[in-house]
């Protein structure tokens, strides 16, 4: 007879002691914290790489680093920021907030949750280890296009295997999110009462499971082409390097939405709170998110307009891409309509959400410009593209992550943070992110190519402005770290509702601050009264 554990310890708010709490973690909050701390560390590693890039681009000619190292900076900056900073930050937020928002005791598969986290530090150790080998770090661009990427040395297999590990981690994390949301909701919490952060993450998780295996397949083909004599991307054997781009972007475009949909969810939580109004058009938001996810599978080749695709493909991908502007427009409209006649206040999470709204929309519009196939022949591989995706990823995804941290940090730590410091961080970030990236539009339109350490002298002025913006933006992120450390150590006691005068809606505000170590042991009952979305 096996001993039946009753696990009385479950009922106490006792945390395991020592390093084992983190190494052997199964608690969604501990794992969420590890994800967030990891993401912050990677944000600074990737940021340091960006500083190297901006320093080198301060002047034309070669100043500080040799071109191969510069190339490895652009390559690993992207991989670190996408897979190491933004995605883990979203998974960390999902870990912390989804069980709290749906009234669950924990994530559905707690051990796998820990597995998906701990793979990440090892994956990035593997990726970055090649900087210490003879060939240097991976330098063929984060998109790893053959035949260039196949010419790498020691860095090639470590990059491929690191991506396999990141993919495995993402798939496990996504499975956990879907299973948690589909299986662990409190009674009465029907799907159309689900907080939008959960909705957007649910759809993101579907995307992750659908496309991370495709990326794994693509890089596996690179590996076998390099070492085992296959001809997937070799025309001499009947393959085609452009085929890699198709497979890669079949992953890559949904990946773009993986990086932004959770941000939509975050902003959809924050704007109603600080507008003191229910979210406008809740159902429309859900359907718009689903539409964006669906369309994301049909637009991949807009990254490849200049590869010489048949004309019909150019047209199809141009039009399908523009179609995405419709559900995205629905979202932007609904956020604005939520604020319309609201009683607005401008706490740090709201400030970041508002700047998300403005700046993400700018990035969306430059995206529409890039979607126009004939015009894209001019924009392709210029700094205009760099400006576009940094607007959607830095002032989009990263700002939304910061908004989320400022929104929920008191719930996590039990302390209010320094509002003045947070606002200083906001203004420095919001101003200098524009100083950093807006001039890159001009550079790109004037013809400056991306991923090149040297440039023609006429590009000097705007590059200096951009670099200056970059340095200030980078340094001001240190304020964020100081603020978080202060808030973890102490500060005014946060109430359960944290933003009491704004009456935030959601189950996470029904538990104490800091949230107890074990979330809802017995599920709460959900009615319309404690959701009050506006159904239109």
């Amino acid at each position: 007879m096996a001993h039946v554990h009753t696990h009385d310890a479950d009922h106490h708010d006792e945390k395991p002691a020592g390093i084992g709490r983190w190494l052997f973690a199964t608690n969604h909050k501990d794992i969420g914290t590890m994800y967030l701390v990891f993401a912050l560390i990677m944000f600074f590693i990737g940021g340091a790489m960006a500083m190297v890039i901006r320093a080198e681009l301060w002047s034309p000619g070669l100043q500080y680093v040799d071109p191969a190292f510069f190339n490895s900076m652009t390559t690993t900056h992207a991989l670190v920021m996408i897979f190491g900073a933004v995605m883990p930050a979203f998974v960390g937020l999902a870990n912390w907030m989804i069980p709290l928002q749906i009234g669950a005791p924990d994530m559905a598969l707690p051990r796998m949750n820990n597995y998906s986290f701990w793979i990440m530090p090892f994956a990035f150790t593997l990726l970055l280890s090649s900087f210490f080998t003879a060939s240097g770090g991976p330098a063929g661009g984060w998109t790893m296009y053959p035949p260039l990427s196949l010419q790498a040395g020691n860095s090639f297999p470590t990059m491929i295997f690191a991506i396999h590990l990141m993919g495995a981690s993402s798939i496990m994390g996504a499975i956990n999110v879907i299973v948690t949301i589909m299986n662990m909701r409190a009674p009465g919490l029907t799907l159309l009462r689900l907080p939008l952060f959960c909705w957007t993450w649910l759809i993101t998780a579907y995307l992750l499971i659908a496309v991370m295996p495709v990326l794994a397949g693509a890089v596996t083909m690179l590996l076998t082409d390099h070492y085992f004599g296959t001809s997937f991307f070799n025309p001499a054997g009947g393959g085609d390097p452009v085929m890699y781009q198709h497979i890669f972007w079949f992953f890559g475009h949904p990946e773009v939405y993986i990086l932004i949909l959770p941000a939509f969810g975050i902003v959809s939580e924050i704007i109603p709170t600080f507008s003191r109004k229910p979210l406008f058009g809740y159902d429309a938001m859900v359907y718009a998110t689903a539409s964006i996810a669906f369309l994301s599978f049909l637009v991949w080749a807009h990254h490849m307009f200049t590869t010489g695709m048949p004309l019909a493909s150019e047209l199809f991908f141009m039009l399908s891409t523009m179609l995405i502007a419709i559900p995205t427009g629905v979202k932007v409209f609904n956020w604005c309509a939520t604020m319309w006649k609201g009683s607005l206040s401008f706490e740090p999470p709201m400030l970041f959400s508002l700047s998300f709204l403005f700046l993400f929309t700018i990035g969306g519009f430059s995206g529409l410009m890039l979607a126009i196939a004939p015009a894209d022949f001019q924009y392709q591989d210029t700094y205009f593209v760099v400006a576009h995706f940094h607007y959607v990823l830095v002032s989009g995804a990263v700002f939304a992550i910061m908004a989320a941290v400022y929104y929920w940090l008191p719930k996590w730590t039990g302390h209010m943070y320094n509002m003045g410091l947070a606002k200083l961080h906001f203004w420095l970030s919001a101003i200098f992110v524009n100083v950093l990236f807006f001039p890159q539009h001009f550079l790109g339109l004037a013809g400056m190519p991306r991923r090149i350490p040297d440039y023609n002298v006429q590009f000097t002025d705007w590059n200096r402005v951009s670099s200056l913006g970059g340095f200030v933006f980078g340094l001001s992120q240190l304020l964020f770290v100081v603020l978080i450390l202060q808030c973890v150590r102490g500060g005014a006691k946060a109430t359960a509702k944290v933003w009491s005068d704004a009456e935030p809606v959601g189950l996470e505000w029904s538990v104490a601050s800091p949230a107890p170590y074990h979330s809802f042991e017995t599920p709460p009952l959900i009615t319309d009264a404690n959701t009050h979305h506006e159904h239109v």
Partner: protein, 299 residues
């Protein structure tokens, strides 16, 4: 008795407290990947393969340890119906991720057949590529490309005829799909003798499939001039059938494990998530094979 528990026994959703296996698994994967990297790029005197096999060994330990822990928790009645449903959903989405992995390679096959090989032979908009670079190439499928890559001096190779071993293998896998369904019905009806026989038949058919596939590979390599390096045909053929064969092997091993668990009295009529998960997986490799048989061997 421990195994008499049905999943409904426990009221609360079981949240395990502290587990060594995830971090053990992460370290194992790290060692495995370092071993693989060193094997490929380490150069002379670097014990890459030793590290690689250490990684594999650790992964094996991981499976025994982690799954053993889950089995003992299940046998102790800690899992309620909600936990059971989480496992089921998790397995379904895992299988969906596997489907997408194969989709990437099927995509490569379709792209090569319908686009890149015709383009290289001058079809559509790519006339100049053909005229300037590969003017002698007239395409067609199977193809090992304009340079006729492969082991033979003259670039010739033959394909595996669909109606030989592949047809036998199709019948084997389809039969195994029937036997596992019979075993499943027997399991639910509590007919353990039928269960044991038909489950054993299923994994034996699986291993026989793998054996025949290995025979086919040997023939392809030694007699047909069909190898991994035989241009795009060899690449897609071996990557698709190879990953499929790997999945059949894994599935057959999983079925064997389930069979031993059945012999020990586990997997009851009420509580048999593992059996069903492996059955789903088995049907998945079956369906992938049908795709392979039609698009790789037959058409």
């Amino acid at each position: 008795m421990a195994n008499a528990h049905s999943p409904a026994d426990s009221a609360k959703y079981y949240v395990p407290h502290g587990s060594i296996w995830p971090i053990f698994g992460s370290v194992s994967l790290f060692i495995l990947m370092i071993g693989a990297s060193l094997t490929l790029e380490g150069g002379e005197g670097v014990p890459g393969t030793a590290v690689l096999f250490a990684g594999f060994a650790l992964i094996a330990v991981l499976f025994f340890g982690w799954f053993g822990k889950v089995i003992s928790e299940n046998e102790a009645g800690l899992y309620n119906m909600d936990v059971d449903r989480s496992f089921r959903m998790g397995m379904m989405w895992f299988i969906f991720s596997e489907v997408m992995f194969f989709a990437a390679f099927f995509g490569a096959l379709f792209y090569a057949r319908n686009l890149s090989v015709p383009w290289l032979s001058g079809a559509g908009a790519k006339q100049m590529t053909h005229s300037l670079l590969w003017s002698h190439f007239d395409g067609g499928w199977p193809s090992n490309g304009p340079s006729r890559l492969g082991p033979h001096e003259d670039g010739s190779f033959e394909t595996v005829p669909a109606l030989g071993l592949p047809l036998v293998n199709t019948l084997l896998l389809l039969t195994s799909g029937v036997t596992i369904t019979i075993a499943h019905h027997a399991l639910r009806a509590g007919n353990r003798a039928i269960l044991k026989i038909f489950l054993a038949a299923t994994f034996l058919l699986g291993f026989l499939f793998v054996y025949l596939q290995a025979t086919e590979y040997r023939e392809a390599y030694t007699e047909l001039g069909l190898q991994l390096k035989t241009g795009i045909y060899g690449s897609t053929f071996f990557m698709l059938t190879g990953f499929h064969g790997l999945h059949v092997t894994i599935g057959a091993i999983m079925l064997t494990v389930i069979w031993f668990r059945v012999l020990r009295g586990q997997q009851t009529a009420q509580n048999h998530f593992a059996f069903e998960a492996v059955a789903w997986y088995w049907h998945f490799v079956d369906v992938v094979w049908l795709g392979l048989f039609v698009f790789v061997y037959w058409l």
